[in-house]
């Protein structure tokens, strides 16, 4: 532990030692390998050398054997000849002598040892003497004796030579034997020496390599211990700790790398922490036993708790067991073990400190790569206010939809009321109009003038009432959106013609002139046939009604962009400027001298305006003032825009 510092600044004080040169462990191991390899190669070389030495010694012994054999054979040839001389033996003896001479010559080249050389020298001397002596004997015999003589005759000189031959031949033989003995000894010595060398070397090598290995092991072990202790302190949680190590070998590098790694880990730790503390949502990290590992600063702020009574506590025990929430238990103990993530888990709880809160919990379960521990991250979003707003909205929405339902119901009731009213009003009208018509038509007998006049009054009033009912119903239908258009392609030009014919009677009765100005390019339009007729009829009958005898009315129709423009004009009573606004109010009727004879409801113009607008067109009225005529202009789109 002495090499392990507990404070990072100690590392600085020891940093000078980082400069010290120590042999790299890999270099050491490599050196060890080289030494082993060198020793082994040397051993092989020595073994090979010893082997060669032994081989050469054996070869020398064999060579000397050959010389000895040649010497024996030559002596045998000589003795045979002396017993039984013949030309053949003589030739053989010469040949053997030549062989022996060659062998001895090569022997003198071959052996370099001092003793060996002396022996060879002596052998050669003896050979020379035997050769010269015996060849002299052989030459003499050839001159003196006929070739066929079987018996050898020796003179004194010859006997002397012969004895010299015998003597020297033995000496030669002896030299060979001695040389043989000497070389055999050398060969054995060589063998023994080789064996000793090899054994000594192997033992030496093993000892050297072992010592070196032990040395390396000791160094590595020592440094590893330092490294190990340091790493243990760091993994124990002390990220401020740094491993202090001397030298610049691989373990020193490793220690430095570990230190850098720890710095990086600390940095990312700090980064994560600052992220956690920046997030406004309270965050809480639990270990697998549901004890608090860490919480964000916002957690303390939000739940008004201190770090001392939070970290290390069981989550349920937080804030005087305020956190013992059944739904939280369910999330942590039932749901999370099956699902690693869980979003938007709503928990409502009444906290003693901060009151009733509705929280949205997002949970993440993080399996730690190291070990089997799990970390549970819990993000807590306070949605109390949002919920309140949502609830308010929901309530408002419910109220609105209730209102809408009520409105629909009321609207339906209104429609039903209208339908009923229409029915109930028409039923008596049917009798009023029907019976007065029968009376007027004198179906059951004649009436006097007064009776006829009154009957007609009843009939006219009944019809007027019917028109009123119809127009009120139409107005109500348009206003409640119940008026549906049945669209079809309308041939506008012929429709305008038909309508003018419809009012032609009225026009001629009143002696009014009617002008039709229908442009050639007036197109057909997509509209509700009956409604368009109704509009035109209303406007034209108004024009007739409010125009005195001798006046003029007219229709002008033309195409304008995507619509048609129709103007219904008259030279009648006109409208006072102050009344311009009121004419669309309904039941407004210009008080004129003709009003008694005109039959109107005051609903024709406003209803026409509504029907035009229902088609997506516009209707406007112009008048220069009283007695200055009126012109009503309206537009209808050629193809209707979507009108809701």
């Amino acid at each position: 532990m002495s090499a392990v510092s507990l404070q990072s600044n100690q590392r600085l004080s020891g940093s000078s030692r980082w400069g010290e040169k120590t042999m790299k462990i890999r270099a050491r191991l490599r050196l060890n390998t080289w030494i082993s390899l060198g020793v082994i190669s040397l051993a092989i070389a020595i073994f090979a050398w010893s082997f060669l030495e032994v081989y050469r010694a054996d070869r020398n012994v064999l060579f000397i054997d050959e010389i000895r054999e040649a010497t024996f054979e030559r002596i045998a040839l000589r003795d045979n000849y002396l017993l039984n001389p013949s030309e053949e033996l003589k030739i053989k003896w010469y040949a053997k002598s030549e062989t022996l001479r060659t062998l001895l010559e090569s022997a003198s080249e071959r052996f370099t040892g001092k003793d060996d050389r002396a022996l060879i020298q002596e052998a050669r001397k003896n050979f020379d003497i035997t050769f010269s002596s015996f060849s002299t004997i052989l030459e003499k015999q050839r001159q003196e004796e006929p070739a066929d003589r079987k018996k050898l005759a020796f003179g004194e000189e010859e006997s002397k030579l012969l004895s010299q031959v015998f003597l020297n031949a033995d000496a030669l033989n002896n030299s060979g034997v001695r040389l043989y003995e000497s070389l055999r000894g050398a060969a054995i010595t060589a063998r023994n020496r080789g064996a000793v060398f090899i054994i000594l070397f192997v033992v030496g090598s093993v000892i050297t390599i072992s010592i070196h290995s032990l040395f390396i092991g000791r160094i590595i072990r020592k440094r590893l211990t330092v490294l190990h202790e340091g790493v243990k302190v760091i993994t124990g949680g002390n990220l401020d700790h740094r491993i202090d190590i001397v030298g610049d070998d691989e373990l020193a590098d490793l220690a430095q790398a570990s230190n850098e790694m720890v710095t990086k880990i600390k940095e990312s730790h700090e980064f994560a922490e600052s992220v956690i503390n920046t997030v406004r949502e309270p965050l809480i990290a639990l270990d697998q036993d549901l004890r608090v590992v860490k919480v964000s600063r916002s957690f303390y702020d939000f739940f008004q708790v201190n770090p001392e009574e939070t970290v290390g506590q069981l989550i349920y025990d937080l804030g005087n067991k305020q956190w013992d929430i059944p739904k939280l238990r369910e999330l942590l103990e039932t749901i999370l073990p099956q699902k690693t993530t869980f979003d938007d888990y709503e928990v409502e709880h009444n906290f003693a400190t901060i009151g009733r809160r509705i929280m949205l919990l997002n949970a993440r379960q993080i399996e730690r790569a190291s070990g089997k521990e799990r970390i549970i991250l819990l993000a807590i979003e306070d949605i109390t206010e949002r919920k309140a707003i949502e609830n308010g909205l929901k309530k408002a929405h419910e109220e609105l939809s209730a209102l809408a339902t009520e409105l629909k119901r009321a609207s339906r009731a209104k429609s039903e009321f209208l339908a009923n009213m229409s029915h109930e009003l028409r039923t008596p009208l049917n009798s009023i109009i029907g019976f007065s018509e029968i009376l007027y038509d004198k179906t059951f007998g004649p009436l006097n003038e007064k009776q006829k006049h009154y009957t007609n009054n009843v009939l006219t009033s009944g019809k007027h009432l019917l028109l009123l009912i119809n127009q009120i119903l139409d107005m109500a239908k348009v206003e409640s959106g119940k008026m549906n258009l049945t669209l079809s392609r309308i041939p506008m030009k012929s429709l305008l013609g038909d309508i003018s014919l419809l009012v032609a009677d009225m026009v001629s009765q009143k002696k009014i002139e009617m002008l039709l100005e229908i442009a050639e390019d007036v197109p057909n339009i997509e509209a509700d046939d009956l409604k368009v007729k109704q509009i035109l009829y209303n406007l034209l009958s108004n024009a007739v009604k409010f125009t005195p005898e001798g006046g003029k009315i007219g229709i002008r129709a033309e195409k304008a962009d995507f619509e048609i423009k129709i103007l219904v004009w008259d030279t009648g009573v006109g409208i006072e400027l102050e009344n311009m606004e009121r004419i669309f109010e309904g039941f407004f009727r210009v008080d004129t001298p003709y009003s008694r004879i005109t039959e109107g409801t005051g609903l024709g113009l406003p209803l026409s305006k509504k029907l035009v607008e229902l088609h997506g067109g516009q209707l406007s009225v112009k008048s220069e003032g009283l007695q200055k005529g009126t012109s009503v202009q309206f537009t209808l789109p050629i193809a209707p825009r979507k009108v809701v």
Binding site: S422, H423, E424, R426, T427, N430, G434, T443, F444
Partner: protein, 121 residues
């Protein structure tokens, strides 16, 4: 022999009006104030035409028409509905009943019988 007409209407005045118009035109007229009576008379008298109000006190006139159509003796009698309703559903209701017509109230006394006669074969 006089043609027979059955008028079904719960309003006594309207019943009388139709009755008079038809009698003047030479019909033998039978009257009923509700659908049940109307169906009974129709089966008994087998009129040439039935003039029927849509809103009746017991069942709707259209329903009565369907009942008449199911009976062999009355299934071919033309039925003309006379209604005060201006709502389109009145017309929709009788669209699928064969041999029926539609006249809206108030009736035109001058053309009423002529309109009815168009339905009599």
């Amino acid at each position: 022999m006089k043609k027979k007409a059955l008028v079904v209407d719960d309003n006594a005045n309207n019943l009388l009006l139709a009755n008079d118009l038809l009698e003047v035109a030479g019909f033998e007229v039978f009257q009923a104030e509700n659908a049940t009576d109307g169906i009974a008379i129709a089966r008994r008298e087998k009129p040439d035409i039935i003039v029927m109000d849509v809103r009746l006190p017991d069942i709707r006139g259209t329903q009565a028409a369907r009942i008449l159509r199911q009976n062999k003796e009355t299934k071919d009698i033309p039925i003309v509905f006379v209604t005060s309703s201006v709502m389109a559903d009145g017309i929709e209701e009788i669209k699928d009943i064969a041999n029926t017509g539609f006249i809206s109230k108030p009736i035109n006394t001058r053309t009423f019988v002529k309109e009815l006669s168009q339905f009599i074969k």
